[in-house]
Amino acid sequence: MWAAGRVPRFCSKRSSEGEGKGLEQETRRSALTLTQEEGKATVVIDVPEQRVNLLTPETMLELARVLDQLSGSRETRCLIIKSGKASGFIAGADIRQIEAIHDSADAEAKSGRGQEVLNRLDDLPFPTIAVIDGAAMGGGLELALACDYRIASDNPRTKIGLPETGLGIIPGFGGTYRLPRTVGLTRALQMILSGTPVDGQRAAKIGLVDACFPAEFLNDRIETFVARVLDGPPDRRLSRRRPPLGVRLLEGNPIGRTLLLARVRRETLKRTGGHYPAQIEALKVVRRSIRSSRERALRLERQAFGRLAPGEVSKNLVGIFFSREAAKRLREESNASRPPAPVRRSAVLGAGVMGGKIAWLFTKFDVPVVMKDIAWTAIQKGYLAAHEVYRELEKRRRYDKREVNLKMHHLSGTLEYSGLMKPDVVVEAVVEKLAVKKQVLAEVEAAVSDDALIVTNTSSLSVNDMAESLRRPERFAGMHFFNPPNRMPLVEVVPGSKTSEETVRRAVSLALLLGKTPVVVQDCPGFLVNRLLLPYLNEAALMAGEGVDYQRIDRLIEGYGMPMGPFTLFDEIGIDVAIEVSQVLEGAYSDHMKAAPLFAGFREHDDLLGKKSSKGFYLYEKDKKRRPNPEVLALLKAGDGKPAPRNVPDEDVIHRPVLALLNEAARALDDGVVGSARELDLALVFGIGFPPFRGGILRYADHLGLANVKSTLERYAASYGERFRPAPLIERLAVGGERFSDLAAVDGEAPKRKTTRK
């Protein structure tokens, strides 16, 4: 019964008869069930023992058999394809299969087999109709595109799209051929290049589906629709919405198409920095196949798929995809047995910009939040910070006025702990001063119930030190939200030595509830991400001190794929903050994190704070392009007795900071700060925007080869300083000819503790 979960509840009429009969008995273990009734054939897809339908090779093979059976049948007048799962239509191809592709020929063959089956579907002599209720992604949409008609439900879970480019590949089952012919060139490119799915209503509007029906009436409406199809002229399809005149004019002639493609290409190159070949390949395939025959178009698609699927970038992106899924699964698995306490109400202590934006996160997910501070003027700052995010989102049409109004109403303020409204979760976000935090934590513990989760949002203080002030430290943990928390997807969950397993689970669960990717790390100075980021920034600052032009450093590092160069990043986080963090970490890891002397010069210029004071390494003037700050340039020139500027080759300008980061990553991994190489890579991608196409720093090191990395580090140690001495883990792996990816994960959530704070 395909619609078991979706039959309206207050309705005596159950889903229509006939479905699920027929071959049910014999083919229980198969993915497809074919039924025939008065010339109407129905194929129900329900891949056994899977939560969602995936287009595995076996399923495709089964489909091919069913199609053979149908094409020989005389009485069949139409075919309806639907899903037997409440979770959706077809979630796409099996990504494990894509991961397993290692050569082009294999990739081309896989794509070719899929194309061939869908061609057969396309070529059936009678009308075919795909019914999309829930997700139809990737191969799922490609299958639906090979049908004559598509029907979507208006179920909010209905998402239709081609997300392949996000995994470094292109659609391989004819999507690049059929989508532009269905929705037009502009829309097709937009869907393929961004990977963003559309919902049922939108799909109907752009002509991706022929109709969008209310989910509850889907069965009834399909019956009517099928009747109309069968009554209509046999060789003509029912009329479809014509694209708007402007689109027809632009796409209908070669000049317009050329202009369009050139513009999209320019934008794509700008957005991807040329690091993501899938987007470029997709564009190329669509451009070359737009006017060609099906055979040629599919060949082009197949070949491009063959080039991309075995590639490094695709493997890296797929790796990150799986790491992220694993982080989510952590919750799902443990929640299945014991769901965590619900978060009905929350409180944020300290309503500064950070507090306000964390409060915003709660409001976004409709959890009421009380901001506690010591003055109403401070609470106003929290309101303002939250509202600024909404104002931006309203401008981008993500929310309308009504929604913003309602969400802002989730916020309230109080000066008294008694006004916290019995929160289930308290996030402490007061100033980064241990004494203040300890006092506030002790005070709040007395004011909330014993089972409330208390977390501290700190980036530099020790969770264990703070835990001392609590009566029940087992319900306390660190949760480091990255700034700005409305945009940064990473949260470091930091258990202290007394934190209970249950609390870690609840903190991870909270991060996921707030739409974040959690990584559990140990309580060491800088936790994971800042501990790794600092040597990288420090190395950049050292190079600038040696006389390397910092604009060049920024440019080269951005070319490497980082979202911004180190000096732009200094200006973003605030130079004063960076100096403070560098001192804390120098204190903790003195041997290899000695703060760059460059910072000493900055201390005398207390107005050089970065973006917040409109000047740092760059000048930020209104309505002007940013330019380097002459003050800093002078500062860098000044110091007499300095050695002459060193000539550092491009290769080293990139690799000195990157390998400094890698070296520290190896130490942190060795220390057990994080459970696995995979989580470490995930944390860097989501925490500092380490280029996803590189898959993370450790994956990048594997790519370079650890022997190679080791010798480069040794060379750097000789010419730039002992801080580059290869970390013991790198030595070990390099000698053994191993890679980071060969390391076994330290058992899930709770890595062993080796480091303690000094």
Partner: protein
Amino acid sequence: MKERIAVVEGIRSPMAKAGTALKETQADDLGALVVRALLGRAPVDPTEVDEVIIGNVAQPAHAANIARVVALKAGLPQSVPAYTVHRNCASGMESITSAANKILLGQGKIFIAGGVESMSNIPLMFNREYSAFMNRLMRAKTPGQRLKTLLGFRPRMLRPEIGLELGLTDPISGMIMGRTAEQLSREFHIDREEQDEFALLSHRRAVAAQKDGTFAEEIVPIPIYPDFSQILELDIGPRENQSMEMLAKLKPYFDRRNGTVTVGNSSQVTDGAAACLLMSEREARERQIEPLGYLTDFAYASLEPERMGLGPVYATSKLFRRGKLAMKDVDYVEINEAFAAQVVACERAFSSKEFAQEFLGRETKLGDLDRDRMNAHGGAIALGHPVGMTGTRLVIHTLRELRRRKKETGLATLCVGGGQGASLLLEAV
């Protein structure tokens, strides 16, 4: 009443003169901010609330049954019903007494009652002629018909009807409220100077209370819409530099030639919201809650619409008769200052045996209002009068002042446009 009603907690927003700080905040938003803060201080869970009752006069078109909108925006569960009450200026008291009645009838245990008003947002309306014109235009089918209709346009159609003015005008007597105050000034022979003196007293007291932080415990600061770049912590209304000279300079507003009532000795047109949490005394005791105080009895009375300002005298008379009380039994009084002339008229009527005999059907006077035991921190003349909200504010403030004075019995009373009065008898312990 068979049992006292506990006022567990009560708070209000700052009050802002219409067109100033709260002008972008709609009445439902203002109410929701206050009710959410009330829930924050209340010793009960939102799910335990049985109903929300909100008084509101202007009833904005975008939020029909504003109480429900307030309740949901404030974070009360969807399962908590809500309704709006309207007894003109007494709406903020009607919500409390409606809740009290329901509690006494056993139709619920825990209620939120309050009042909200955004006088900044009372709309200007198209007049009937223009509405008819638009109607014709929409019905016109052919271009010819449309043109003909358009030619029927007259500039006078654009003259708006001012919602605020209509709301403040009594349709029976045809008098705007200020006119009824003029009527009382004549009837009781209250000259301009006497009115201005009372107005000055109101400002002085309000300014002093602002300075010593008296209002801080009842006010929940309100972030300023639309961009939240400020937060309002105090009432905008009390004028520190107010003087007799300045008051004397103002022209009579309602009767330009012979009048005495000016904007200086009238209440201010204002935005604000207030709310309180109510339950029976027994319920409070069982929950071991110490409430702000109790509502022990109340009365509404009515009289000629032209003399609506005397409403407090009529309502208090009814209340006292039932409870066999006199003014000497009351420790503290909050009387709404709709107009200085109206308050002074009430003072005289309370103190007058003749008035009592002629109009109230009683032998003795009700008793003197003593200015030392009344409106200790100023009233609507200095603080403002958001019509639907004031009733709730008077109750909250009376109870808080009784506690400060360590006294027992209080009276909150106000006059009601259309010719009514409301009097609530309150106890602190």
